[in-house]
């Protein structure tokens, strides 16, 4: 009998490819559970998810079954044959990867394929903050033309400095877009990036990055080390009037510190696509008219959606064929060398 791949969420764009990819090597099953208890009990013999060896996961599934926290991971490890979780998305903070590591379950994400879409969103937010475009649009629709706009508060991008925190695939794309003006581009990552062009200046620390940037854009993953990484101290190191853009994860920035800095004008505006507790948005943010606030659509274009679906499915396809998927998350890469990281027999 064929093993199964469980779709937690749904496949919208790569429907034909899904069928083609797994024809003859796995059955595709749709997750229909209204809650976690139904979910977990469905893997048993005779249940709708029996024989599942890999899960395609989208964050939207959390609404029904919660995040893939330690408790859920342990249950999967102990009572099912699931050995691969393919997250659709570059962010995978909703999966407890340490628990997966402990139990020998692999996790993959979809790095790079939404780099374009997300960098596009970051650029949009930056321009909106520099030029007060979002506020101007709202003023037009409210019938007040541009009476709210003061050109003494709006700026060109050219010649200003963009500070990129994390020069991964998204940060690098944004660097290229900014360079077209040109903006001066400085970045900080754990170490200098080999693929960075010569005009991308590496700086040694988050502190130096904050001091140099007119616009700081966040492009790092959310994990234990990065929660609140941009806090009161870092925000106050930015020049007065600076702009903060966050298309990564809300919790990387200390929201309270950010709001206080908007209140006293230390930050002139923020451009956000992510928030600590989505879809809830702190109403205080709405009070700052010059801010540009997107509802986590940064990675969501038709092209990016399809690319992410295909990429996630590709990891599962490799697993089904007895190979290793390409996108094992960094925390689990060390497992690739060890025998405990073995895959289920098909």
């Amino acid at each position: 009998m064929l093993p199964r791949i469980l779709i937690c969420g749904n496949i919208q764009f790569a429907v034909a490819e899904l069928k083609e990819m797994f024809e003859g090597c796995a059955e595709i099953v749709q997750m229909i559970s209204p809650d976690r208890s139904h979910f977990l009990s469905s893997f048993a013999t005779g249940g709708p998810y029996e024989r599942t060896i890999g899960i395609y996961r989208r964050n939207v599934s959390a609404a029904a079954i919660g995040n893939f926290d330690e408790s859920l991971i342990n249950a999967l490890a102990e009572t099912t044959s699931v050995r691969w979780i393919a997250q659709n998305g570059s962010g995978y903070d909703q999966i407890d990867v340490q628990a997966c590591k402990a139990k020998g379950i692999f996790v993959s994400n979809t790095p790079t394929v939404n780099a374009d879409a997300t960098a596009h969103a970051a650029l949009y937010l930056m321009l909106s903050c520099l030029r007060h475009f979002s506020m101007a649009e709202r003023s037009l629709r409210a019938g007040t033309w541009k009476s709210v706009i003061s050109s003494s508060d709006t700026h060109d991008s050219t010649g200003r400095t963009l500070g990129i925190l994390g020069l991964g695939s998204i940060g690098l794309r944004l660097a290229h877009f900014a360079h077209a003006f040109p903006m001066r581009v400085v970045y900080h990552s754990h170490r200098p990036v080999a693929a960075a062009p010569p005009w991308c200046e590496y700086v040694e620390s988050v502190e130096v990055l904050c001091r140099e940037a007119d616009v700081l854009s966040v492009h790092i993953p959310l994990n234990a080390e990065t929660i609140g990484l941009i806090g009161e101290r870092e925000i106050r190191m930015l020049k007065k009037g600076s702009i903060l853009v966050n298309t990564a994860r809300g919790r990387i920035v200390d929201e309270q510190a950010m709001i206080e800095a908007l209140e006293d004008g230390h930050l002139s505006a923020v451009g956000l696509d992510t928030y600590p507790d989505e879809p809830h948005v702190n109403p205080k943010l709405l009070g700052f008219r010059q801010c540009a606030l997107l509802p986590h659509v940064g990675g969501e274009s038709a092209e990016s959606e399809k690319a992410r679906e295909l990429r996630a499915l590709g990891n599962l396809h490799a697993m089904v064929q007895g190979r290793m998927g390409n996108d094992v998350v960094p925390e689990l890469r060390s497992c690739l060398e060890q025998p405990s990281g073995s895959l289920p027999r098909i």
Partner: protein, 335 residues
């Protein structure tokens, strides 16, 4: 006695430059006539504006004395020989036969507006492709991203932009979108020798419309460009296309645009200009996916300052050398 130059619409930023540019060269007067009749009266013998040879003009003066149409130009005294308009678009200054007949020449401020205006066009393209304006309004209305369907939103990369008019602004926009890259096509009266090889010239407006996913307008408003993009051109575009206009509202046939939005032929429009600013046709607001800006193209201190200095410098060069660098194209000799 020093020649007299008039500031018609005070600069916002270039105050020091006025002194630097005209000190010892001209007497600078400021026009604050409350209406056109009084404006003309002040040029009369013994009046404060008598003997003015050059005028620095900003659009804001139109609120008092109207635009520099044929009637105003014809009413200026023969001493006035140069109008230095602040703005790349100079449709508010009659630069045709009337000006020529009375011996007045007109300059504008090309170049100084390019960056800020191209950035505005870039923002509108980015917004329309991804329905970001709608998404922001949805968040502020408390509906998160519910109305947004990602299937209808697109990356710029790999799509085609058609630039109508590859002058300074169009070329700058080409460079900005090329970073994705977008494929860049353009149509102009003439090929642009400064265009990089990846800017593909197409031989007609029709072809530009047929092949572009987004059409961006960068031509001046003149008699021959009024409604240049109309029903025919819009229908030649692919279904689901986008139009962006940062040039002048009257270049684009607004009724044709609205029909095309209604039947979905155009998926959205990104506009910074309207036929009758600051009035905006309320029909345009009915389409939530539209990105509509209130003529923000040059609303930055940096750009406005550059534009002021550019216009004032044209006026100074006229005084010193008999002409400014930015004589408008219509008035250049055909040598």
């Amino acid at each position: 006695m020093l020649p007299k130059v008039m500031i018609c619409g005070s600069p916002r930023w270039a105050h020091d430059e006025i002194n630097e540019l005209f000190s010892g060269i001209a007497e600078v007067i400021v026009d604050d006539a409350p209406h056109r009749t009084e404006f003309f009266a002040r040029f009369e013998l013994g009046g404060p504006y008598e003997g003015t040879v050059g005028i620095y003009r900003r659009n804001i003066s139109a609120a008092r004395i109207g635009i520099y149409d044929r009637a105003l130009i014809a009413g200026l005294p023969s001493s006035v020989k140069w109008i230095a308009h602040n703005g790349a678009g100079y449709d508010a200054v009659d630069a045709t036969d009337v000006s020529r007949t009375v011996g007045i020449r007109v300059s504008n401020t090309p170049g100084a507006v390019d960056d800020a205006t191209a950035t505005t066009g870039f923002y509108l393209v980015m917004s329309c492709f991804r329905h970001f304006s709608w998404a922001e309004r949805s968040l502020r209305a408390g509906t998160w991203k519910n109305p947004i369907s990602s299937a209808l939103t697109h990356d710029l990369t790999g799509h085609t932009i058609g630039i109508l008019g590859l002058g300074g602004i169009g070329l700058r926009l080409a460079h900005l979108v090329h970073a994705f890259p977008m494929r860049v096509l353009y149509y102009s009266r003439n090929r642009n020798p400064e265009a990089p090889e990846w800017c593909e010239y197409v031989g007609s407006m029709d072809e530009l419309c047929e092949r572009s996913d987004v059409l961006s307008i960068h031509v001046p408003l003149r008699e021959d460009t009024r409604n240049l993009v109309g029903e025919t051109q819009i229908r030649k575009m692919k279904r689901g296309s986008i139009i962006v206009n940062t040039a002048r509202g009257k270049v684009l046939d607004e009724e044709a645009v609205i029909r095309a939005l209604e039947d979905g032929h155009l998926s959205s429009v990104g506009l910074d200009v309207f036929p009758n600013e600051p009035s905006v046709n309320p029909r345009l607001l009915e389409f939530p996916q539209n990105a509509l800006l209130p003529h923000m193209g040059t609303e930055t201190q940096d750009s406005q300052h550059h534009m002021e200095v550019r216009a004032l410098t044209n006026l100074k060069d006229f005084l010193r050398e008999g002409k400014g660098t930015d004589l408008v194209p219509e008035m250049r000799s055909k040598l």
